[in-house]
Subunit: 333 residues, 2 copies
């Protein structure tokens, strides 16, 4: 178990999106965050107190969580210095980076000398099976996106919160490092060996009560050239009964791929249904979640209304407007 509360390490984040791990923890577990630590040039801000290691420890922090991620994951020399200070100051470290803390010998040695722990939540802790495709009991909902990082995890967490408030049986199933750091459990899907991806998703979403919903955290996009294979494994391993389409309307291009445009919601709907029907012929697209963080209230409302009329599906920003209408749609299944 990772000890709490946390100091959130934002490093030298190139933009706010690079710190989405920190943002997720701050949004969903604010009570666990005593402050943030930022390096020169950091372009992210959680709105928490900027603390030194000493100040964080004085406020009770037990673990510094690396809340910033780079493409591929990479522990730079600048970060290394800050991580060592945290260990020396008495904090554990937790990370979801591809490059493991436990592969950095100087950190391992220092942690050992100081009696501190290094948590790499990205390492799969289980030998996952090959997927069987056998139909499971209970119901599953998966958000699929027009792009990476469009709010799929937030949508699932918002829906779980709303469903639990209604007394429904619902479990958020984390498939990424942020989700795992937020909930303390899950499958780090992008670090799983290719042959076992779909099996890992089956393992994560087992047989359950007939009226129980798994809210599976989506990853990547069927239209993202770098990560589509991971998304495919979620669609086939997750056996969703319900799909939510997730979209961020202000992207100039696909994340990290300057030559690529997002698909339309119509294209995403049609493609996702073709693929999801392979494992569940009854799957339905039940709603649309639009990430309106870069829009005004009026723009957000107008876009959702226009999209809803065009697509014939309940359309909300679940983080801004609440997830009630998406959950209403689930209740009809």
């Amino acid at each position: 178990m990772i000890e709490t509360p946390y100091l959130l390490f934002l490093g030298d984040a190139a933009d706010p999106l690079a710190a989405k791990v920190a943002q997720g923890i701050k949004d969903w577990r604010p009570e666990l965050c005593v402050g943030q630590l930022r390096l020169d040039g950091c372009q992210a801000d959680m709105g928490l107190d900027d603390l030194t290691i000493e100040e964080a420890v004085a406020k009770g922090a037990k673990t510094m969580v690396i809340g910033v991620a780079n493409r591929g994951g990479y522990i730079s020399d600048i970060w290394k210095k800050a991580l060592k200070k945290a260990l020396e100051g008495g904090l554990d470290l937790a990370s979801g980076l591809h490059n493991l803390l436990n592969d950095e010998q100087d950190l391992v040695d220092l942690a050992s000398a100081k009696g501190r722990a290094l948590h790499d939540v990205r390492i799969p802790s289980v030998e996952y099976p090959i997927a069987t495709g056998v139909r499971r009991k209970g119901k599953r909902c998966l958000a699929v996106g027009t792009d990476c990082s469009v709010g799929k995890m937030y949508t699932a967490l918002c829906m779980e919160k709303t469903m639990r408030a209604r007394g429904m049986k619902a479990t958020f199933r984390a498939t990424g490092q942020t989700g795992i750091l937020v909930t303390g459990d899950g499958v780090p899907l992008d670090a799983v060996i290719a042959d076992f991806m779909a099996g890992a998703v089956e393992y994560l979403t087992p047989d359950n009560d007939d009226d129980h919903w798994d809210l599976i955290e989506g990853q990547g996009s069927l239209y993202h050239a770098s990560y589509s294979g991971v998304t495919m494994a979620l669609v086939h391993g997750g056996q969703p009964d319900a799909l939510i389409l997730s979209h961020e309307p202000t992207r100039a291009h696909m994340r990290g791929l300057p030559d690529y445009q997002q698909p339309s919601l119509e294209e995403l709907r049609d493609t996702a249904l073709i693929l999801a029907r392979v494992v569940n012929p009854d799957v339905k697209v039940v709603g649309i979640a639009i990430n309106t963080q870069h829009l005004s209230d009026a723009e957000a409302t107008a876009l959702c209304k226009e999209t809803e009329e065009r697509m014939g599906l309940p359309t909300v920003d679940p983080y801004r407007h609440g997830a009630d209408r998406l959950v209403d749609a689930l209740e009809t299944i």
Copy 2:
């Protein structure tokens, strides 16, 4: 990169089928095989000269390839003795066995002492990048199947052979263990970490001459619930200009999935095109390869003719009928 030429190790193969890896190398790269090494009781024969280690080295052999499946899932003492002799005699070792050579401490120590390499092609030897989706020069062809194990590798190898005979620039790109041992290079895609699958395929099929074709070995199926994510990474990492549909017409159900039926060739064509167009809008389905090994000559001919008329695409069993008509289709692109 595995050094060639090879001495093929057939061990104490219980029957010819146990030596199918050796058979593949001998069938597709006879020029790389200086001879074979058989132990007492071996029931397989590639029709190559039976050589001692010394004779093989004298003939220029650089690597002894384990071309036979091990009985009981472990490396026996009888094999171990022969493998050590090869290392002592100056040969590297290459293996696609589940049991890794590099997990046998005595082999590791001996190889190290003798300056020899142990190649386990089941595990990646490269840190692959994240896919960029950037368009590459040269042309690429990928076989996509209605199921796993329907003849995608043989189709690609047949096409490469035909293309080279015509003086075309063509390279088979291996993505599985047998293919890697056949060619001495490749990516063991099903063992790659999820996030790097598409990047591994980009790495495998880099920029090339405008008139050069990569024949990429397919894996899995977009319709196979266990492995579809791997196939998706091939479609998006491979950026194919040409797709071949591969089919085995006698399957009662999807391989390993009793509850699942193969899709129709029409479904596979439409789905593969939707997904492949994400990275290459000009991609075309150019032909169909039917694995007719369980059909008579008359049945095979009739099925290909009927399929060709229905689908409007050249349809052959490339192993039985030759790959000329598929290559003709590539030449029109």
